[in-house]
Symmetry: C2
């Protein structure tokens, strides 16, 4: 059973590299780093504090400051004051950022289509369900680090 688990981890790692690589390429086609693309993807449907976004992305708060400043200059993100705690800032997506997120997303779908296309409808649902079960258990653990 040890051997089977190793093979599963190999497969997971390979799919992870392919997926990350495809996303990274789609992002850089639009002069976005992988991290910037993740950020606008995350902020598509919510607004987070700087500290919260930093934690989700696995970045230091100072690193995120720079990222957000650059994105704000390009009109992709926006910082708004948090009523109730005047130290804090909420990061929200700007219209141009939302458009870019959608474009990157479309590219990702197109690039992954050949991989997913080899599976029929039932298999895709099965795969999705298994992956989602994995992610649930990921929530139990501390945030993914990248340091």
């Amino acid at each position: 059973m040890a051997a089977e688990q190793e093979d599963l981890i190999d497969a997971l790692a390979q799919v992870a590299f392919v997926t990350t690589g495809v996303l990274s390429a789609a992002a850089s086609d639009r002069d976005l780093s992988l991290t910037q693309a993740r950020a606008i993807g995350i902020l598509r449907d919510r607004r987070l504090r700087m500290s919260e976004l930093a934690q989700v992305l696995g970045l230091e708060k100072s690193t995120l400051s720079g990222l957000v400043v650059r994105a704000e200059k390009r009109g992709l993100l926006q910082r708004v004051p948090d009523d109730g705690d005047r130290r804090a800032a909420l990061v929200t997506i700007a219209p141009a950022g939302a458009r870019l997120a959608q474009e990157v997303r479309a590219d990702l779908e197109q690039a992954l289509a050949p991989l997913i296309g080899g599976l029929d409808e039932g298999e895709r649902l099965q795969l999705q369900a298994l992956l989602e079960r994995m992610i649930e258990h990921a929530g139990t653990r501390p945030e993914t680090r990248s340091s």
Copy 2:
């Protein structure tokens, strides 16, 4: 069906980030970058030319030169001349590199265990088979870029 595909892509992306993050953390615990960890992982069971390894990793050849020089100084990798083409160099793993690769691998397994642990034996095999089918189709396309 469009909605389902989007959900599958979301799940793929999330699992990819978790997996990459875990590997990155395991690597940096040993002063390896994610790319260096990938390199020693790839070279565990084969030797490649500089140019081939660069292509697999999605790096420029000049970038790989630096990476290999640093790894060679630490005794992790080794360059040997390619008989038959004296321009080329083959990159091989050194004993210390093989040990490190094994350690990183063990950490990766341990960190992913809680995620995989939620699945029973049959589901793990199912997931592995689906992921491997995806990877097959990835081989059809040009190498993953990261530029």
